[in-house]
């Protein structure tokens, strides 16, 4: 009986549940505003496909934020890896889709590892290290592109993978989320990330190699950013050095909306998914509900801030409820 009740409590009292409620409310509003045409299969698949990059990178960002870090170099890594494989195809060096994805992932992993080492071994604040990375990788993407794009015809075979109607992006997303869900929930490594984020000193004392965990976390982030680079080239059939410029903030916002704490130690894969989904639905819905283009950013900002504040309020209410129960 006790067991059952606490399970029920956990379901209704959790952040995820409150986020689901917000999502449902948002969907109802959007469906009414768009005249009941929002939740069509093609729309739903487009929501996932157009925001696959944000959703994928949000997983890495979750790990980074859990260790109380931050990574703002991700879209620059994305551009660098994406541009590299775009050029490999443009100059007919390589056309194998699998190998190209592998190369992009390796480049991303390398960049991420570098971030991780500088942060863990060099004791540099994450935001500063990745800000430097943001300038460097983006700059290199421009330099190697030499003012060229890899476009439609250049990447024709490769872009079939991410084409509208192809299941490629969905499979990558699904695998990534399942793997992360398992790792974060049931493996030692997952628990170590939480431990490092909650209290790095305590983690160190209890025998966790904090430096190693932090390096790995940034490496994973880099890996996902590199993969997203390949995915981006595939989905949009073009590689440009300025791709996804400034979108790192969207990824961070998606995580925070999903209840991931920027102070570390708190957040979940499910929450991240819901946050990214929320962000994706807003991006999809704004042009659909007949809002003039120039209003869209303002509305988006207000929604983001409102949800973040709402998150805090529900958390406070939950804490108070818990306290009351304990006092009883």
């Amino acid at each position: 009986m006790q067991q059952k009740k606490s399970f029920w409590k956990r379901l209704t009292g959790s952040r995820e549940a409150s986020l689901v409620l917000i999502l449902v409310a948002l969907l109802i509003v959007v469906t009414i505003l768009s005249g009941g045409t929002f939740l069509t299969p093609s729309n739903i698949s487009q929501i996932f496909r157009n925001n696959a990059l944000t959703m994928l990178m949000a997983l890495g960002m979750l790990c980074v934020l859990l260790t109380a870090g931050i990574d703002i170099s991700i879209t620059s890594i994305l551009a660098f890896s994406g541009m590299t494989i775009g050029l490999l195809q443009k100059y007919d060096i390589l056309h194998n889709t699998f190998l190209l994805f592998l190369i992009a992932a390796l480049i991303g992993t390398g960049c991420g590892l570098l971030n991780g080492l500088i942060i863990s071994k060099g004791k540099v604040a994450p935001i500063i290290c990745t800000m430097g990375g943001m300038y460097i990788w983006r700059g290199l993407a421009y330099v190697i592109s030499n003012n060229n794009w890899a476009s439609g015809a250049d990447v024709s075979g490769f872009s079939d993978f991410g084409k509208d109607g192809s299941v490629g992006p969905y499979i990558i997303l699904a695998i990534a989320y399942v793997v992360f869900f398992i790792v974060m929930k049931w493996t030692t490594f997952g628990r170590r990330i939480y431990a490092v984020g909650s209290n790095a000193e305590a983690a160190e004392v209890s025998g966790i190699n904090v430096d190693k965990v932090i390096s790995l976390v940034y490496m994973i982030m880099g890996l996902l950013a590199g993969l997203s680079g390949a995915l981006s080239v595939s989905i949009y059939a073009s590689a440009q050095p300025n791709m996804q410029y400034g979108k790192e903030m969207d990824v961070i916002a998606a995580c925070v909306i999903g209840g991931v704490s920027m102070n570390g130690g708190r957040g979940s894969v499910v929450g991240t998914f819901l946050g990214a989904l929320f962000y994706a639905i807003v991006a999809k819905a704004l042009p659909l509900v007949g809002l003039e283009s120039i209003w869209q950013n303002l509305i988006k900002g207000i929604i983001v801030l409102a949800v973040v504040l709402l998150n805090v309020l529900t958390q406070r209410a939950m804490d108070r409820a818990n306290l009351e129960r304990r006092e009883l």
């Binding site: 045409t37 729309n43 487009q46 157009n50 990059l53 993407a141 421009y142 592109s145 030499n146 003012n147 060229n148 794009w149 476009s151 439609g152 015809a153 024709s156 084409k163 509208d164 109607g165 949009y236 059939a237 073009s238 440009q240 050095p241 300025n242 791709m243 996804q244 410029y245 979108k247 991006a283 999809k284 042009p287 659909l288 007949g290 283009s293 120039i294």
Partner: protein, 382 residues
């Protein structure tokens, strides 16, 4: 104390590294006033001092352009864009063929801010002329006026600024002609009646706005177009992702949509991909780079774009180069009626004309149509 020494040394090493890193070949820059540099981006800046010789050397060159002894700068919209790159290469090749020195500057981002920094730096280098493709019609006027006060000949190409802050504008195609071509394409592809939508770049892009306005006013003034309905002007901000979102939204919001017209290279290729992937019956036209659009141009249902327009960005750069040279030589001042030779270019000699707002411009020619018959050939060029 030791730490102090160590960190001081490291700082010094850092500075030394910097010196070595970007000073390559720099020591010769003061001496190499006549040599034409080889690298694409970092063309040597010529030491000033040649500014005084401008007038004495120019009077003789009435017919043939001569650029020797002068430095000409071009500021594109941003780095990392093949269209801008072609434009700059046309400019650079022409200037160097005429014996002048050329500086190509691609701002780090497509913003007026980034262009202001670059132009400021060019003023310091006392170049003889600046040709700029403006990212904003207003924000550059202060710095361009400063340049003109410093005796630099200022002209715009591709995208104009206020008429008072430049001498002349090299227009790739008359605004009216582009508008006419686009609305005619919409008329033709829709079959004379139906709904269409426009997917533009950013809301402040000067030339996109003027073409769209021209399309609208032509459609209003002529009964021929009365059956065409413009559903919406959407803005994709020249980002592939946002352009994709906007295209999909257009398709969904307007089930009777027949044609999307996208007068911007990023927008048109993003929209083309969406339409082609979905096998949509909606067709596309607009302004796009042949090399970007090769995949999507075709007459049958499996291609989304029957035809589109553009001008030759290389030629636009060339024309800007000849204009700069003529301005520096004192052959033209940018006043209406001025005429100058432009080497082997198609419509040479060119004449300065006045546009509808009374600003002076030089028009390259009518927009060029790309269809299945010529796309392969042009995709190789730009």
């Amino acid at each position: 104390m030791k730490r102090k020494v160590v960190s001081t040394m490291l700082c010094a090493a850092m500075a030394a590294g910097l010196l070595a890193g970007c000073g390559s070949g720099s020591s010769s820059s003061a001496a190499s006033s006549a040599s034409s540099a080889s690298s694409a981006e970092t063309t040597e800046a010529v030491a000033s001092g040649s500014g005084e010789a401008v007038k004495s050397g120019s009077t003789a060159a009435a017919g043939t352009a001569d650029a020797s002894g002068h430095t000409y700068a071009i500021v594109t919209k941003s780095a990392g864009n093949p269209y801008n790159e072609r434009e700059a290469s046309g400019f650079k090749d022409t200037i160097e063929a005429l014996g002048g020195t050329c500086i190509v500057q691609n701002p780090e981002q497509a913003t007026a801010d980034a262009q202001i920094s670059v132009i400021n730096s060019l003023i310091s280098q006392k170049v003889d002329s600046i040709a700029v493709a403006a990212n904003d019609a207003n924000a550059l006027s202060a710095v361009l006026q400063q340049a003109m006060d410093a005796g630099i000949k200022v002209m715009t190409l591709d995208s104009d600024v206020e008429a008072s802050s430049r001498m002349v504008f090299c227009n790739q195609a008359g605004v009216k002609e582009v508008g006419q071509a686009l609305i005619d394409a919409v008329y033709d592809i829709t079959g004379g009646e139906g709904e269409y939508a426009i997917l533009s770049a950013t809301s402040q892009a000067t030339n996109q706005n003027s073409w769209i306005d021209a399309m609208k006013s032509i459609a209003e003034s002529d009964d021929k177009y009365s059956e065409l309905v413009l559903d919406e002007v959407a803005y994709g901000d020249d980002e592939p992702q946002k352009s994709t979102d906007q295209t999909q939204a257009l398709l969904q919001k307007y089930p009777n949509l027949k044609v999307i017209c996208s007068p911007t290279t990023v927008g048109i290729s993003a929209a083309a991909k969406v339409l082609q992937d979905q096998n949509s019956s909606v067709k596309l036209t607009g302004l796009g780079l042949p090399s970007e659009m090769k995949e999507y141009i075709g007459d049958d249902d499996s291609h989304s774009c029957p035809y589109m327009f553009l001008w030759n960005p290389i030629d636009l750069g060339k024309l800007a180069a000849y204009t700069s040279v003529a301005l520096v030589n004192g052959q033209i001042t940018g006043a209406e009626g001025d005429t100058f030779e432009a080497g082997d270019m198609e419509n040479s000699p060119y004449t300065v004309t006045k546009n509808a707002d009374g600003a002076t411009e030089i028009i390259l020619g009518p927009p060029y149509k790309f269809d299945p018959s010529n796309i392969d050939e042009w995709a190789e060029v730009y």
